[in-house]
C-alpha cells in the first residue's frame, strides 16, 4: 500500500482543515471550500559525506562540481599540523538529499489533494526534523486542500501556497494567482587554510606577528556569500518568469571543529503568477486605535 492509499471512506463524508476560524470564513467568502487536511512525509538518510565524518586531509581538492574555491598557504612547509591548503565547496549531495526530501513529501501531499478533487492547497506548513540520530531528516508538509464551491473540475496538479485566508484573498485582489510553494537549499563547506585558521582564532594577518589590526576573513565571507547566492539561484530557477513572494531565507552555520565549517541556507516562498495588469491601491488611510 502506498503512502497515499491509507485514507479511508470517512473523508468523503466530512472535511478536515488546518485553517483558523478566521481563515475558514475567508476561504468560504472566496468561493472555495476545504476538502481535507493533506499531508506528505519523507524520511531521508544522508550519505556519510553529509554528516561531517569526512576527515580533513582525505582529499585536498574535491571533484569540481558546483561552487569550488581553493586556497593555498603562502608560508610553505612549516609543520605537520600547518594547514597548507583550504577549500570552499558546494555540498551538492546534501542539497540533493534535501531537494529529494522536499520533492517527495510535497508530491505526496499533492497526491492526497488530487485524490480529493482539490484545485489547490493553502496554508502549507513545512517542517524538517532529525530522526533516529545523525543523518536522518524527516520532511513533513501539511496544508488544507480546497476546491471551487459547486464544481467538481480540478486541475491535474493543484496549486500550493503558504498563504491562507485574508492574505491569500489580498494576493488575488492584487492580481496574483498562486502557482506553487518554492523551497531551495544550498550547502557550502569551509575547510580553512592557515590564514583563515589564524584569523578565526584571533591571530593577525601575518602569522605570529601580533598584528592588532582587524582583517576581513575572506574565505568564510566568500563561502557565506556563495551559499546565499546559490540558494537564491536555485529558487529563481524554479520560477519560469513568475514572481516569488514572502521569501523566508534562513542561514545557519555549524562548526564541526576549528576551521571546519558547514553553512546551510534554506529558502522558502510563494511562487505566484501575475494574471492582471497592476492596479495600484489608493494610499491606505492611517488610523489610531483608541482602547
Amino acid at each position: 500500500m502506498s503512502v497515499a492509499d491509507q485514507s479511508g471512506d470517512a473523508r468523503s463524508e466530512s472535511f478536515t482543515s488546518g485553517l483558523s476560524v478566521s481563515d475558514f470564513a475567508a476561504v468560504l467568502a472566496m468561493g472555495l471550500e476545504p476538502v481535507g487536511l493533506v499531508q506528505g512525509f519523507c524520511a531521508m538518510q544522508s550519505s556519510s559525506y553529509a554528516v561531517g565524518s569526512l576527515q580533513r586531509n582525505l582529499s585536498p581538492y574535491r571533484e569540481a562540481r558546483g561552487y569550488v574555491e581553493n586556497y593555498q598557504c603562502p608560508h610553505g612547509m612549516v609543520a605537520g599540523e600547518h594547514r597548507m591548503w583550504g577549500q570552499n565547496y558546494e555540498q551538492y549531495w546534501v542539497e540533493e538529499t534535501w531537494n529529494q526530501g522536499f520533492a517527495s513529501a510535497s508530491a505526496r501531499m499533492l497526491d492526497e489533494a488530487t485524490r480529493l478533487g482539490a484545485v489547490g492547497v493553502m496554508g502549507v506548513v513545512d517542517t524538517q526534523s532529525t530522526l533516529a540520530g545523525a543523518g536522518v531528516t524527516e520532511f513533513h508538509f501539511r496544508g488544507t486542500a480546497v476546491r471551487l464551491a459547486g464544481t467538481d473540475s480540478a486541475p491535474s496538479t493543484p496549486w500550493t501556497t503558504y498563504l491562507s485566508g485574508q492574505r491569500l484573498l489580498k494576493a488575488f485582489e492584487a492580481g496574483f494567482a498562486p502557482v506553487s510553494i518554492v523551497t531551495a537549499v544550498a550547502s557550502v563547506r569551509v575547510w580553512a587554510y592557515c590564514i583563515t585558521e589564524y584569523l578565526l582564532g584571533g591571530g593577525g594577518i601575518s602569522a605570529w606577528s601580533q598584528d592588532a589590526s582587524t582583517v576581513e576573513i575572506d574565505q568564510v565571507v566568500r563561502a557565506q556569500s556563495q551559499a546565499r547566492a546559490l540558494v537564491r539561484a536555485s529558487a529563481r530557477a524554479q520560477l519560469h518568469g513568475d514572481v516569488l513572494q514572502g521569501v523566508d531565507l534562513i542561514a545557519t552555520q555549524h562548526e564541526y571543529e576549528h576551521g571546519d565549517i558547514e553553512i546551510q541556507c534554506l529558502l522558502r516562498g510563494n511562487r505566484a503568477r501575475r494574471v492582471g495588469d497592476f492596479v495600484p491601491l489608493r494610499a491606505p488611510d492611517a488610523t489610531v486605535r483608541l482602547s
Binding site: L148, W159, K170, G175, I205, R236, G241, V275, F278
Partner: protein, 279 residues
C-alpha cells in the same frame, strides 16, 4: 475561454475564479522577481508607486586580535573597528547587489550581528525596490533601510526619504577593582561605578559614531534605532553598546502631516471570557 481577470470586481468569488482560471491558462510573461515582503507589504509598496525587484544579501566577517577582551583600559578599539568594518562591507555588498538588480534601495533589511571573541560577523537580508518602471542608478545612490515596507510607505507619505543604515558601536573595559576595594565593598549595597562608567562611555562613543554616520550620509536624523548593550558574555570585564537605524531626510520642502483617523474597536471578544470580570 475564461472571463478576463478584473481586480476591481466586488465579488470575491468571481475574482478568485477568474484569477485561478487565468493563472492556469496563461504563462508568465514578465520578469521573475523575488521578495521577502509579505503580501501586505507588497500592497503598501505598490500604493506609493514602488515595486519589489530582488531578494538581496550582504555578509561580512572581520577578525579581532586574540586576547583583546581580557585586560586593558578604555575602549577596545580593535573590536569597535571590526564591528564598523563588518557593517560597512555588508552594507556595501547588499547595495551592490541591489544596484545590479536595477533597484534604487533595499527595504526591510534584517540585521543579524554576532560578536565573538576572535571575530565579528554581520549578515543583512532585504528586498531591493524601485519606483515602478524606473531605470538604474549607481550603487552609491542605493539606500539600505531596516524599515519595513509599511514604514517606508509611511515615511514617503510624510515627505521623507531613507538614505541608508547608520551604525555605531563601542566596546569598553570595565576596570578591575583593587583587592582592597573588593573586600571593602563585599558586604555593602554599592554601585559598581566601574561598570556604570564603562557602559556610559560605550554609549557615548556608539551614539557619536552613529550620528556621525548619519551626517556623512547627509541625513538629518535616524529613525527606528535598535540598541544592543550589556556585558560581553565571553569577557567578564568588557561591556558593549551597539546601535543602528535608518538615516532619513526631508525629500521635499516640508514635512507632510499625517492625520490619522481615530477608530474604536467594538469587537472586544476577550472580555466575555476574561475571568477577571467574575471577581
Amino acid at each position: 475561454m475564461s472571463a478576463p481577470f478584473d481586480p476591481t470586481a466586488s465579488d470575491a468569488r468571481e475574482l478568485v475564479r477568474t484569477a485561478l482560471a487565468s493563472g492556469a491558462a496563461e504563462r508568465a510573461t514578465g520578469a521573475a522577481t523575488t521578495s521577502d515582503l509579505s503580501i501586505d507589504e507588497e500592497l503598501n509598496l505598490h500604493a506609493i508607486g514602488w515595486e519589489s525587484v530582488e531578494l538581496v544579501t550582504g555578509y561580512s566577517m572581520f577578525s579581532t586580535p586574540v586576547g583583546l577582551w581580557s585586560w586593558g583600559q578604555g575602549e577596545i578599539v580593535a573590536a569597535a573597528q571590526a564591528h564598523a568594518n563588518a557593517f560597512r562591507m555588508a552594507a556595501a555588498r547588499i547595495s551592490d547587489e541591489a544596484a545590479a538588480a536595477g533597484a534604487h534601495g533595499v527595504v526591510g533589511v534584517h540585521v543579524e550581528r554576532a560578536v565573538h571573541p576572535s571575530y565579528t560577523e554581520v549578515s543583512l537580508i532585504g528586498t531591493a525596490v524601485r519606483p515602478i518602471g524606473a531605470g538604474r542608478v549607481p550603487a552609491t545612490r542605493v539606500f539600505a533601510s531596516d524599515l519595513s515596507a509599511r514604514d517606508f510607505a509611511r515615511l514617503a507619505a510624510s515627505g521623507w526619504e531613507p538614505l541608508g543604515l547608520a551604525v555605531g558601536a563601542s566596546f569598553v573595559y570595565a576596570p578591575r577593582r583593587t583587592m582592597g576595594a573588593v573586600l571593602q565593598q563585599q558586604s555593602q549595597n554599592v554601585e559598581l561605578a566601574n561598570y556604570t562608567e564603562a557602559i556610559y562611555s560605550a554609549r557615548e562613543l556608539a551614539m557619536e559614531r552613529m550620528q556621525r554616520a548619519a551626517i556623512d550620509l547627509k541625513g538629518t536624523g535616524v529613525v527606528e534605532v535598535k540598541i544592543v548593550e550589556g556585558p560581553m558574555a565571553f569577557a567578564s570585564h568588557a561591556v558593549g553598546f551597539a546601535m543602528w537605524g535608518t538615516v532619513v531626510r526631508l525629500a521635499g520642502s516640508s514635512h507632510q502631516n499625517v492625520e490619522p483617523t481615530m477608530v474604536v474597536s467594538l469587537d472586544d471578544a476577550a472580555l466575555a471570557f476574561d475571568a477577571a470580570t467574575l471577581e
